[in-house]
Structure formats: C-alpha cells, structure tokens
C-alpha cells in the first residue's frame, strides 16, 4: 500500500500546485488593498501540498527501511543485508529518490513561506506563490511522467542489487539532503524575487523577507559543500579535497551566486540600493541550482551521480531549465526598467566594495560555468577536451585575489561615501601582512605562486576580519555583525588550510614488508601486520600501522581496503591521524608479488583548517540569521505594542496625533 499512497499523494500535490499557481495569479488582478475572491486558495494549497509531498517522501523512506522488494527502485538500489542507516540514506542515493527529496523540500519550503510569511503585501505574496507553484508543477511532472519512484515490479525481486559502496558512508547520509535543501531554499528566493518584480515591490521590506531564505539556503550550501569536500577527501583514498569535478562545480556555482545574492540583499535591506542587481542575482542563483540538478541528474556527465543514461529524462530537465531560466530572464528584461532607481553611493563606500565583490563572484561563477560546460559542448562535436585544476585554479584566482583584498577592506568602509585616507593605518597593516607573509614564507623555500598568495591573503584576512570590532563595545555589537566577522574569519582559515595543503604536503608511497618502517616528515610509520576482517556487507584487509611522531609513543592506525559484494566493488578506507597542525593520511593498497604491501602516507599540514573554515563560515551565517530574527521579533513586538497603545488611546477618545 505504501507505494500507492505515496503515488496518490504526489498526484494530489501536483493538482494543488496547479491550484496554487492559478489562484496566486488571480491575486495580481486584485486592486490595491483588495482581495480577489479566487486568490484565497493559494496559501492553503501550498500548505497542504507541502504535507502531501513530505508524505510521499516518508512513504518511500518506509519502503526503503523495510526493503520492500516489490518496488522497482528499492530492488535496484537496496539490499536486505545493508545496515539500517544506509537503507535509509539509500532513499536519496538514486535518481528517482533524490528527485523526490528535491520536490519534497521544494514543497515544504513553499508551505513554510505560505504558512508563516505575513509581512508581504497580498499581491506580491500571490505572485510569489504562483511562481513557486509553477516551478513545483514542472518538477512534479518530471517525477510522475518520467521518473516515478513508486513503480512496482510485476514480480517482486528475491534480493536487491544494493547501493554503491562509495555512497555507504555517513558523509553521504548528510551531504545530499543538505545541498538539496540549499538548492531549493534558493527557489523561494527566486519566487520572491519574481513576485516582487511582477508587482513592483523591490524595496527594503521585501529584502527583509527575502534575507532569511537566502541566508538559510547559503548556510546549507556552505555546510553541504564542506561536508562533501571532506567526504571526497577521506573516502577516495588519495588525499585530494577538491577536484573541480563537474558534480562539485554544480554545487559551487549556486553557492557563488548565493554568496553574491546574500550580500546584495543586505545592501537592499539596509540602504535601499542595488535593487535590480538583487533581483538578477536571485534569478541567477536558482538558475544555477537548476543547472546543477540538470548536470547531475540528466546523465550528461556519465559519472556516478548520473544514473540516468536515459536521454528522455535529460531532455525533460533541459526543457524545464530553459522554460524557467528563459522565462525568468525574459520577465527580468521586460520589468527591470520599471524598478525604480535605488539609493546612490560613492565608489569608496561599503556599497561600492560590495558591488565590486559581487561582480568578482559573478566572474568566478562565469569561469566555473565555462570550464564545466565547455567540455560537454565540444564533446557534442566529438572533440574531447580536458578542463581541470591547472585551468580553474589560475583562471579563478585572477578574480579571487582582488576580491579577497577588497573583502579585507570593505567592512571597514562607511555606507554611502567614505574617504580612504581615514583608513590609512588599516590599509597599511593589511598590505604589510600580505607582503610580509609572502616574503617570510619565500625565505624558507620555493613554493608555487598560488599557495604563496593564499598564505599572504589568509594572514591579512584573518586580522582584517576582526577590524570592524575595533573601538566598539564588544557586548553591544549586534549578533549579525558577529556573524559577518566569524564568516569572514572562516574564509581566512579555509584559505590558510588550502594554501598550506598546496605548499607543504608531503607524500610517501612505498611497498613495505610487515615489520618495515617508512619515514614521512617527523613521523615514522611501521607496518605491524595485515589481517583480513569482515563487515556486514563487505570483507577487507586491514593494516595495523604504528605511527610515532619524533620517536614518541606510537599511535595505531587501521586503514582498510574493502571489497563489497553487492554490487561488487572495492574501496579504500583511509585512516587519519589528526593533530592540531595537520593530518596524517594513511591508505593500504595491494600486495605485491614479493609479499610486500603498498602503503600510501601523506602528511598534510593544517589541511583540517579547510573544513574548520567552512564550518566557521556556516556558523557565521547561522549567527546572522539569529541576529536578524532577534531584531525582527523585537521590531514586531514593538510595533504591536505601539498599535495596542494607540488603540487604547483611541478607545479612551483621546485621538492622538498619528505618530509612528
């Protein structure tokens, strides 16, 4: 029954999306201040739809938990012997399930928006919900018509095929749902932007409604990318943490757009400037989310994420992509002229710095987009081109380096207009830190240019991040400002980790007989023994490595080479020794003919800072949300109190002057 309930819920949700779309559109026909009789269904439709879509997802989750092998999706992606955790995470480890998750989150965020957002004018809200319903409808159609997750098998399978072993990992349990929630949070930003554009309500009040969605989506994307990077690092077994793989780029591009959008929204909320720029970034961010979904889900990449090698699905998503992005940019082009001019500002102002960095972020986005799509484009003409780190790193650095420099100074500038001369000391300190660090590090050896620049910038950014607090009473600094300080400091921390990994990593690959010792950095690594071990759905050989730092007490690491049997595949389970100043990364390989074992060991100084930085950035975002919510709640209670007081006074017949 579960599958049928799920399918029925999906069809009903799709029908409600139509209602939401039509009813929302009627709100546009209402005159100012009035409510169209047909427009009242949009909110309830969105809320009920959210329940139904989530119900459908829970039904699929239940089918995976109980390994219901009469459902095709379960039979082809699960196995009765899998641990429960991976049965559950297997729900979104495949095409149909992940699309259902996508749609579920989309409906849920639409429902939350409809249920709780009361600040916007009804017309804008109606237009927003109509757009949200239109987007949801396309994805319901995609699920129901070409990727039905609830399809039954004519005869139930005796046993499932199993989940790809690389995906059987806790990192993958959290990585995709977080990323999807981020992608889809941007859909609300998109709908709100379109709603405001259609009803000409691009103003600070709208920005304050938009901001929590953008911040929330951005936090989730940041966290998802950080988790994904760490997962790739420890699971793939060669110590790489970012590969510029199209699938990674698919998550990076919405993040870049969302970062720019977040800053732009803040300017709109605080200063009523950058109106069209905010709308454009809103459209761009969700376009990148959909492009990411298309790249990963359509099969154009033929990587592990693209299980669907079925061109029909690819064409369907491409169609949706063109419809939404094309439609959005058309409306933008038609309506952008009608959006009134925002407040002006000087070049040397906080807005000026933010505009500069938003342009830089967009340029990096363009580079990543080009490098990701170009090989696909040439492949269509049977020319195969490789675009990899040697291209992406320098090309994005062209824009990233000036961006980091401006980022160090930007928060110190005043709104509207400022004199750079006022910041002489700060500017001097930042320049001295960049140059001093580079000179100091070059003194100790020859290092590649980019890591060297990274170290210099990281040092300057780390100090500059705290400069906005100078001369302020720390306990009176708003929570949101602390969020900014923390996030900017996180960027410095992350950059420092990346630069150290690039400049100072040491590698040792060797064939070692049991009892043999290898030296790497200050560590001596002794292979004590190799033993076979077994898990619930795999067997492995496990090495016992004694790691001793500068002759000290040894620590034992157990790297494994696992062989899964359903589906048959091998993976390397790396073993990590984490120190405050870096990580030792050990992997066991095959046995050579002479009985020696291949071991790979890396010493990666400060590599963990990459992910600590990512977590700090996400935490900064959380603080920013908390701070804004606090201020909003305060403002709301103040205004209700004021309204009550006025009502009381009126009741007393005093009729006071209408003072706000």
């Amino acid at each position: 029954m579960t599958a049928e309930i799920g399918l029925a819920a999906l069809w009903l949700a799709a029908a409600l999306a139509v209602l939401q779309m039509v009813s929302g559109a009627f709100a546009l026909r209402a005159a100012e201040g009035e409510v169209n009789a047909l427009a009242i269904y949009a909110r309830p439709a969105a809320v009920v739809q959210a329940f139904l879509a989530v119900l459908a997802f829970i039904m699929l989750l239940y089918a995976f938990a109980t390994t219901d092998l009469s459902i095709k999706l379960v039979a082809s992606n699960s196995h009765s012997m899998k641990p429960m955790l991976y049965k559950l995470t297997g729900t979104w480890g495949n095409h149909e399930g992940s699309m259902l998750l996508w749609v579920g989150v989309l409906a849920l965020s639409g429902g939350l928006l409809a249920g709780f957002e009361k600040r916007l004018p009804e017309r804008t809200m109606g237009a927003t919900l109509a757009v949200q319903g239109f987007v949801a409808l396309g994805f319901y159609a995609f699920l129901l018509l070409s990727s039905n997750p609830f399809e039954r098998l004519p005869v139930p399978a005796a046993e499932g095929i199993g989940l790809n072993p690389l995906l059987q990992d806790i990192g993958l349990a959290i990585h995709p749902p977080t990323l999807y929630a981020g992608y889809v949070g941007l859909s609300v930003a998109f709908s709100l932007a379109m709603g405001a554009l259609l009803t000409n309500q691009v103003n600070p009040a709208f920005a304050r409604v938009l901001r929590p969605w953008v911040l929330g989506a951005w936090v989730l994307l940041t966290f998802g990318i950080t988790a994904g990077s760490y997962w790739a690092y420890y699971e793939l077994g060669w110590g790489g943490w970012w590969f510029w793989d199209p699938v990674e780029n698919a998550s990076l591009m919405p993040w870049l757009a969302a970062t720019a959008l977040m800053h732009s929204v803040s300017v709109l909320a605080a200063r009523d400037a950058l109106r069209t720029w905010t709308i454009m970034l809103g459209v761009l961010a969700f376009s990148m989310s959909m492009l990411g979904t298309f790249l990963v889900r359509s099969g154009v990449l033929t990587s592990v994420h693209a299980f669907a090698v079925d061109p029909e699905r690819g064409a369907f998503i491409l169609g949706l992509l063109l419809l939404y992005i094309g439609g959005a940019f058309t409306i933008f082009a038609l309506r952008a002229g009608a959006v009134a001019e925002g407040k002006r500002f000087a070049v040397a102002s906080r807005e000026g710095a933010l505009v500069f960095n938003n342009v830089m972020l967009s340029a990096i986005l363009a580079i990543v987009l080009l490098g990701t799509l170009y090989p696909l484009l040439t492949e269509a003409f049977d020319v195969r081109v490789s675009v990899g780190p040697p291209y992406f790193n320098p090309a994005s650095a062209i824009f990233a380096v000036p961006m980091f420099l401006v980022m160090a100074v930007g928060p110190l500038l005043r709104w509207k207009s400022d004199k750079p001369a006022r910041l002489q000391i700060e500017l001097g300190l930042i320049a001295a830190l960049v140059i001093g660090t580079i000179v100091l590090v070059s003194f100790f050896g020859q290092f590649p240019l980019l890591p060297l620049l990274g170290l210099g910038l990281a040092a300057a950014l780390a100090v500059a991040a705290f400069m906005p607090l100078r001369g302020r009473k720390l306990w009176r600094v708003p929570v949101a400002t602390w969020g900014m300080v923390l996030a900017h400091f996180g960027v410095a921390v992350s950059l420092f980790g990346m630069a150290c990994e690039g400049a100072f990593s040491q590698e040792r690959l060797a064939a070692v007989a049991p009892g043999g010792t290898e030296q790497i950095g200050d560590f001596s690594v002794t292979l004590q023994s190799v033993t076979p071990v077994a898990g619930p759905n795999w067997t492995a050989i496990e090495a016992r490595l004694a790691i001793s730092e500068s002759g000290g007490e040894p620590v034992i690491l157990y790297p494994q080479a696992r062989s899964f049997w359903s589906p048959p595949m091998s993976t390397s389970e790396s073993a990590l020794l984490t120190r405050w100043d870096g990580q030792l990364y050990a992997v066991i390989g095959n046995q050579a003919e002479d009985g020696r074992w291949q071991i790979r060991v890396w010493w990666k100084p400060f590599v963990t800072f990459i992910w600590y930085g990512g977590l700090l950035i996400a935490l900064g975002g959380v603080l920013a949300i908390a701070g804004r919510v606090k201020v909003d709640v305060k403002r709301r209670t103040a205004s209700t109190k004021g309204a009550e007081r006025r009502a009381d006074l009126e009741a007393l017949g005093a009729s006071p002057a209408p003072a706000e």
């Binding site: 077994g237 590969f243 720029w277 990449l301 009134a340 340029a363 062209i398």
Partner: protein, 143 residues
Amino acid sequence: MIRWLAAFFIAILALPVAAQDTMPPAPYAYSQLDNPQLEAEAAALMHTLRCIKCQSQSIADSDAPMAGDMRHQVRSRILAGESPDEIRRWLIARYGDYVSYEPEVSATTWPLFAVPVLIVLVVAGVLLRRLGQRRGSSEGQSS
C-alpha cells in the same frame, strides 16, 4: 566527486577484455623515485595528466590500473632524463589532447582563453559604469 566510481565501474566492465588488470602493477605505479627533486617534478606532471578511464581524476589520484601504468611511464621517463614537456607531448601524441589538463591554446580550446579575457573586459566595463560615473555626476544609473 565520485569519479572513482565511474573508474571502478569501467574497470569492472572491462575485466574480461583487459588482461592488464590481472598483471601486477608496473614498478613505479605505486612507489616513488628515490631522488626527491625528480619525484617532485614527476608528481607535478602527474597532477596535470588525466586518467582517461576515470571521471575527472588526474593519474596522481586514481587506483585504475591504467593510471598506474601511466604513473610508471611518467616516473621512468623522468628518471631517464626526459623533461616533463617531452613526456606530456609523448602522451598527447599517444592519447590525444584529452589526456592533458594543462590548457593549451588550440583550434578547439581557444574559447577557454578568449572568454576569460572577455569576462575581464566586461567586469571592467560594468565596474566603470556602475561605480565610475557616480563620481561627481548626479546622473548616475541605479543599481
């Protein structure tokens, strides 16, 4: 991120036809050169060569047997005194442009270089228009 997987799938599918999979890996596939300077040169080169059986991985981070063979080729040629550029050219002659991540301007790749230049120009243009004209003039465009 998971280009490994593709590599493994392909490796598994290719098992019956690829006799090399059952052979022990070449000597320098999994061990380093003794001279640290030569090894650094080889490692730098390996990070810019694509494992053609994998999805977006360099030969320096792949377990595919073919990547191992290519690592052996790179290390033994470096040891024999060839320059990294010579080795890259040799590999490109053998496997095509696809094997090299190092971008080179050619008939098929020129847009990869032209577009960033274009982006720099557009960025400069946008910044000049948005920020430049605000100085003094009150006729500034809205943002």
